[in-house]
């Protein structure tokens, strides 16, 4: 009833790009929705005015544990938000539950500290109904990947215009130290005294599998890299998922020490830079390694000086529409942290859900006014009759033909459909 079976494309501006795909079930329709870019639609500061870190700092005392990686991320965000040039009142941070989810209280923007796991859903409603907002989600490995896993994958699938900061410390901190969905197998925690038998998620692989259009990984302690990645994420239209390795000094201290120790990191971090080979270590150094594709198509890490025959060095292209390379890179990472790619895995353009939803409403309302007359027309629908009570105490029913206005298609286009066979199409949920 609501699909456009056999009807013309809904968008008059659409210059039919071939026929709709064959679908044995419901028909599909060419949406012809426009592509918007970056933060288009969000008001910017007027000429000459600027904002500083102080403008973005609220009067609330920050209450994370001493040494928590969250401090560094907060400082980086407060530091670079002014550079976006967006009006402060048009920025909203939505969080779930967990240590990182206290984040919104410390920023002097609009914010909602919501409930466990639901921030992406709430942010979806907000971002979809308000094109003029830059909406951010702050979440953690437990919040986003465990209790809120469903909302996270669907936000990324839909490509809602959100920037999601996923703080991954591989532990539940606020509830005092239980293993999380990113904890390693064997992790000894409060709730797994004999070691966890639970296989962890790789958040980057999950995001790529959910067809996220922007996926990156960075580190709390690397201010420059963190800022660079966040800046790119903020400028991306669609869902940006940024995994931030973050140290919990109380319950999982040193989880990322191998990547923080300069000497260790050099031999482990694979830097993802657009149009450059994926390299571990300094180019030209004897220890340098590169990621290569073997003849079977699998990715391997080999010394740069000794790339085997038939293997090709992988040159990173985050804009590659084919996600297989990005996914392959995400799988190089394992709990041993032998090779850990850092940077932007994927950054592609795809129409966003919120733009599409708004466009459909805008197309439908174009050239119409919402006034008493249009509401009256809606309430009347297509099938009315009139009871005439000219004689007091006696109500006269005029005869059929005089009384039934009958279907008036002109008024009926967007009106409520009559019952049809709806009841029999109903099913259990």
């Amino acid at each position: 009833m609501t699909t456009h079976r056999g009807s013309a494309p809904v968008n008059p501006r659409n210059d039919s790009r071939g026929s709709a795909p064959v679908n044995p079930g419901n028909s599909t329709t060419e949406l012809g929705l426009p592509t918007r870019r970056g933060t288009e639609g969000v008001p910017t500061l007027g000429d000459g005015s600027t904002q500083t870190k102080k403008d973005f700092t609220s009067d609330q005392e920050v209450r994370w544990c001493p040494g928590c990686g969250d401090y560094a991320v907060l400082a980086a965000v407060q530091g670079f938000l002014p550079d976006l040039g967006l009006r402060r009142e048009n920025i909203v941070f939505v969080s779930g539950i967990g240590c990182s989810s206290r984040f919104p209280y410390y920023l002097d923007t609009y914010g909602m500290h919501s409930i466990h796991g639901r921030a992406p859903a709430i942010a979806t409603g907000l971002a979809t109904s308000r094109e003029d907002l830059s909406v951010w989600v702050v979440t953690g490995d437990g919040d986003a990947l465990s209790i809120g896993g469903n909302h996270l994958i669907h936000a990324m699938r839909r490509n809602v215009n959100l920037t999601i900061l996923l703080f991954n410390n591989k532990i539940y901190g606020l509830t005092k130290g239980q293993y999380s969905p990113t904890s390693d197998v064997g992790a000894v925690t409060k709730s797994t005294p004999s070691g966890s038998v639970d296989h962890p998620f790789n958040p980057v692989s999950l995001a790529l599998g959910s067809e996220a259009t922007f996926v990156a990984r960075t580190m709390d302690s690397d201010r420059a890299h963190l800022t660079e990645v966040l800046r790119a994420a903020a400028a991306h239209r669609g869902t940006s998922l940024v995994e931030i390795y973050q140290n919990c000094p109380i319950f999982n201290d040193g989880a990322f020490q191998l990547l923080k120790d300069r000497d260790e990191a050099t031999g482990r971090v694979a830097h993802l830079r657009a149009h450059e080979p994926v390299r571990i270590g300094a180019e030209g150094s004897p220890e340098a390694k590169v990621v290569v594709r073997d003849p079977e198509g699998r990715l391997q890490v080999v010394p740069e000086q000794a790339v085997p025959q038939g293997h090709t060095v992988v040159v990173h292209d985050p804009a590659d529409p084919d996600p297989t390379s990005a996914f392959g890179l995400s799988r190089l990472d394992d709990p041993s942290m032998q090779t850990v790619p850092m940077g932007i895995f994927r950054q592609v353009e795809r129409p966003t859900y919120d733009d599409g939803v708004r466009e459909q409403v805008q197309q439908a309302t174009a050239g119409t006014t919402r006034d008493t007359a249009s509401l009256d027309a809606l309430l009347h629908g297509r099938d009315t009759w009139t009871v005439d009570g000219t004689r007091p105490g006696q109500v006269e029913q005029l005869l059929e033909g005089e009384t039934t206005e009958g279907p008036t298609p002109a008024a009926g286009e967007a009106l409520v459909e009559e019952g049809e066979e709806v009841y029999e199409d109903e099913g259990t949920p």
């Binding site: 109904s129 909302h151 709806v422 109903e426």
Partner: protein, 619 residues
């Protein structure tokens, strides 16, 4: 009263729906009860697959779809067997004899063909066994482009044509409906029209029917009318609310029976500025609605009982953040999956109390299909005025049932204009203007609704306890105690805006009051009429507001010697009334997935009247 019954693929809902439209156009008052299986297409010819549609029409005001049908149209043995228990002696039965094959009879456990023995006649029924399928196929013999199966599918139109003749209904509006529906398929259109006319003509020419009925128009208030289901009225009420508040309507919803129709309806109304979001689950659906509310829209989510359970935590967040939010529960039989396509009103306590902590929300209920429109406006008024989630309770009977609706004039609808807060509401110690998100309106106790994008009013809200006035995080014991009481007091303050309870007590001398809420309105009204027709005195009242109750409810209850509360649950309102007012109300309950019958309730009222009288004698 007519009941159409057949296999769930026989098109009985459509047939009933069209008969309803023709009946409404003729000026009869009416009330309908669709009754269909949860399975989309249950196995053909079986009892679980029987789908029926009952329509009650008369020349007077009608309160219910009726208790027992006068005419049953049974398209197969299963439909006959499933509906016979409801048929009173003297009823007319029209059956499709083509379907009474040995195989179909065996499927439902008929050892002998009831059309061939005297069992039906002995039970006092007037039976008309007509080969509807073969009559249809024969009538459509000239349609070469249609298969036999396609021709057979038009048998519901033949039956409708026959019934239209029997009840002197014009088929013009159904013909117009078919022309619109099959505009793209001229041959199918002609086939349906032919079947419809053949049925009508058969009625005229046959001598099989001794009586033909004329039901005169019912006296109704002058005005323009349409037939509308509860879910349609609800959708229109939401859109009207958006118009009258000046807010964009944003619906977050997840498909669930029997609420999905509201999502379907609203998704067709984009031209009125409506945004519908089909979420990944019930929790996301309400999350999206709440996110939209935070952004300043009219956030709405629609669901049924199991979905309401899933939304509980987010409703709690809306209580804490004190944002307007409309949560609509089209109740169905429970617990768990329960009876998805049947009706019940057993979510009342879930609506009031189904959350952690002291988490008061306003609760309103619709009482008839057309009343769903007014209930939506009232729920929106409360949500936006008091910045609170409101749960609106409808149910499957109201949602799918239809009745004539006198269309209100848009300009006469209540003005619900909402203005978001745009200016600071306090000054700090240095005299600078500041914004306190939890500084309340003195009368309503509502907090300001300042939306993102408003410069200078940046603030953070959330589920952690808020300090009074500033809204900062607070773990202070005294503050928590104060905030819990403030949130409760705010909901309580809604009672100041509710009119006194309307009590229908014509003589003013009744000693027994029947009090109901929700969809029992129709059956209680019909029962009251039956009782009064015997000369007895009985009062009735119906609650729109379940939380808070109208301020005078306690006084009303105490005015009567006996208060009877019929509910389609195990006495949930009765529990609340007893707990709130210490009044010994009598609970009458039934949870069969169907509305009360007027006869049943009249009997209950009668028994209570007798008891009260006998007490008088013994005292």
């Amino acid at each position: 009263m007519i009941r159409f019954a057949g296999d769930s693929g026989d098109g009985m809902q459509l047939t009933g729906d069209r008969f309803t439209s023709d009946t409404a156009a003729l000026g009869n008052d009416l009330s309908t009860l669709p009754n269909f299986p949860a399975e989309i297409r249950a196995p053909q010819g079986t009892l679980p697959g029987v789908s029926s549609f009952q329509v009650h029409f008369a020349d007077h005001d009608i309160a219910t779809p009726g208790d027992a049908p006068d005419v049953l149209v049974a398209m197969n043995p299963a439909a006959l067997k499933a509906n016979l228990p409801d048929l009173p002696r003297g009823a007319t039965v029209i059956v499709n004899s083509d379907e009474f094959t040995r195989r179909n009879l065996a499927k439902v456990g008929y050892a002998a063909n009831p059309l061939e023995d005297d069992s039906l006649a002995d039970a006092g029924y007037h039976v008309h066994a007509l080969p509807l399928t073969s009559m249809t196929v024969e009538a459509l013999a000239a349609f070469d482009g249609l298969t036999r199966k396609e021709k057979e599918r038009a048998k519901n139109m033949l039956a409708l044509g026959l019934l239209s003749w029997l009840y002197s209904r014009d088929t013009a509006s159904t013909e117009a409906f078919l022309r619109a529906k099959f505009a793209q398929a001229p041959e199918i259109l002609e086939a349906n029209l032919t079947a419809l006319r053949t049925g009508h003509a058969y009625g005229e020419t046959t001598e099989d029917f001794a009586v033909r009925y004329q039901v005169a128009p019912a006296p109704m208030t002058p005005g323009t009318y349409r037939t509308i289901t509860g879910n349609q009225a609800l959708a229109l009420g939401l859109v009207a609310s958006a118009y009258r508040t000046g807010l964009p309507l944003v619906l977050g919803s997840y498909p669930i029976t029997p609420a999905s129709d509201v999502l379907h309806q609203l998704s067709t109304l984009k031209a009125h500025g409506v945004t519908t979001l089909q979420a990944e689950d019930e929790i996301a659906a309400i999350g999206m609605a709440l996110g939209a509310s935070f952004g300043g829209a009219l956030g709405v989510t629609t669901t049924s009982g199991p979905g309401l359970a899933l939304k509980s935590e987010t409703i709690g967040l809306a209580v804490a953040t004190e944002l307007p939010l409309l949560v609509i529960d089209i109740q169905r039989g429970g617990p768990s999956t329960g009876l998805p396509t049947k009706t019940e009103q057993a979510d009342l306590l879930q609506a009031l109390h189904g959350r952690n902590g002291e988490s008061p929300v306003a609760v309103v209920a619709a009482q008839s299909p057309t009343d769903c429109f007014d209930a939506a406006l009232e729920a929106v008024r409360i949500a936006t005025t008091y910045r609170t989630p409101v749960i609106l309770l409808s149910d499957g009977y109201l949602g799918n049932g239809s009745e004539p609706w006198q269309i209100p004039a848009a300009a006469q609808l209540p003005d619900l204009t909402v203005r978001h807060t745009t200016e600071p509401n306090a000054t700090d110690e240095r005299g600078e203007p500041v914004f306190h998100p939890y500084l309340r309106d003195e009368q309503t106790l509502a907090r300001p609704w300042a939306v993102p994008g408003t410069p200078g009013l940046e603030h953070r809200i959330g589920g952690i306890e808020k300090a009074d006035i500033t809204g900062n995080i607070s773990y202070d014991p005294a503050n928590h105690d104060r905030m819990v009481r403030l949130r409760q007091a705010k909901i309580g303050a809604i009672a100041d805006s509710i009119p006194p309870l309307e009590v229908d007590d014509p003589s003013g001398e009744a000693r027994v009051l029947v009090l109901g809420w929700g969809s029992t309105y129709g059956p209680i009204g019909a029962a009251t009429r039956l009782v009064r027709a015997t000369g007895a005195k009985v009062a009735r009242a119906h609650l729109r507001h379940l939380n808070p109750f109208p301020a005078d409810l306690g006084d009303v209850l105490r005015r009567y010697d006996r208060v009877v509360v019929p509910e389609m649950n195990l006495g949930q309102l009765a529990l609340l009334l007893r707990g709130t007012y210490l009044v010994d109300v009598r609970s009458h309950t039934q949870v069969r997935g169907l509305p009360f019958t007027a006869g049943e309730l009249a009997q209950v009222v009668h028994e209570n009247l007798m008891e009260v009288q006998s007490q008088e004698v013994t005292v």
